[in-house]
Amino acid sequence: MSAKTKAAAPGQKTPLAAKIFLALVALYLLIPFATTLIYSLFIEWTDVLPSGFTLRNYAELFGNMTFWASIGRTLVLCLVSVVITIALLLLAMYVVVAVNRRLGRFMQFVCMIPYALQGVILSIGIISLYTGTGTVLSNRMMMLFGAYTILVLPYIYQGIRNALNAIDAQMLIQAAEMLGCGRFRAYVQVVLPNILSGILVSSLLAESIVFGDFVLANNIAGTNYQNIQVFLQANMARSSGLSSAIVVVIFLVVGAVTAAVLKLQQSSARKA
């Protein structure tokens, strides 16, 4: 009987229909990127097969200072906004864990709003609030950092909260207090070291979200502060060879971050 059942046991053979269907879906998903990759490596592709292998597009891209500038800006945006968000959330979470648990509800609600709203609403809300106020707040960079901080809030919040729940932070702080340690010191010296690995995964995820963002960068900063996605969009009509190389580079970077996240998740799942 059990040989006939459908659930996959280790070592069980994959049915042929399943193999074919999964292969078709995987193929469908891979074709657009594969095409772009091939396109970036050849001079022309007007027949069935492309002709004239070349690395010209990559040489041109890597010699382009605007490209490096946009990569630099993107990295600054990624690092600074994710670090700000982590710092804000860790401080706020101290209050929830050690001072007043009831704030947790409010925090959860506020941190989940960006999920529901996403980039378009967030960006135009910020523009219409601050543009033309003539203060430091109307600075495009300020707006952009603020927007990214909010954009990654749900992801990092989720990571920190899960990590805190997993180690039972409240108990640790109470125990430390009984031993004569202050609450804040207990939080910094006992709780934080224990949740670092949990924060790492969600921060990496957040990095790849900021790296892949086009909406906020285009709506708030536009050409004033081109990130890599805006740079790609600006070049799309001009040179398809160059653009295909940019797409490949973006995909490889995000792919590497994704692989790191999956690896970390797997190893933490194995530990648990």
Partner: protein, 327 residues
Amino acid sequence: MAVSVETQAPAVSSASAAGAVAAAPVAGAQTGSEPAAAERAKRPQKRRGWTGYLPFLPFLAVVIGYELLPLAQLVGNAFIGKESEAFGLENFIKVFTTPLYQQSIVNSLWISVVSALVGIVVAFLAARFAYESSPRVRNAFTLVLNMMSNFSGVPLAFAFMILMGNSGVLTLLGQQWGIPFLADFDLYTGEGLLVLYIYFQIPLATLLLLPAFSGIKKEWREAATILKATTFDYWFKIVIPNLMPSILGTLSVLFSNALAAYATAYAVVMNNYALLPLQITSKFKGDVQIDNATGGALAVVLILLMVACTLINNYFTKRASKGREIV
């Protein structure tokens, strides 16, 4: 809330998000620490008064400044009439009577519904087959899903232009080989956008549905066979009803994912297509004059649709996790 972790960009953790990690927010979170909280409440609040709350302030300031106030600003814009400058529904009346905006709402709903439905059907089959596969095949397939779920927005739009644009590889092949579907395919229309949207829905939908299949016990199949159920009965009377909360929850995530998608559409058609996110953005940033009032009203329409999706998703996520506990 649980499933919507991945709505926009990378769906890296969605395998865990739909299952264990994020399923807790509403139900599971508080229960464990209830006694500790009660004990704390009994204790007199002697130590710190307000200074204990200081670390909360930076977070509060940023959230108010960049999340709550901007939202309030949009809603405020929406209710102050453009012509009359008085509080009222003037902007909404304009939005629902102007053909361009009507069309934008209809197009957005249409493209979101169709792409979500196609996405869920493909995802259901893919998740089912992946679940029946050996771990090696399943892991390889999940890796492809995770990688390709990042392939969205401007890069995806560009790849499809190379593939199916005016002088795209497939378009040229279609012309040479006389395949009208490929030769005459126009990426820069609603149908073209639909193809793109379906593409980015599939990996997300499959990643969200996969964990749900682990709730299907193999004994059910045996029991059903013993009770003389046909294969049709087994799928449509046992498996699909059982997975319904997950399916509907995923569907609402897909719907809102398509509704709010901006980068992909903008990269393909710029502002030359009646789509809600494109129209909203063009009101605030644009070649034309800035129109906070109409833009605000359009934004409120989008916000309401998104909030409805989130509520629906929350409802089904709770149902799904409840159902699993019983089993």
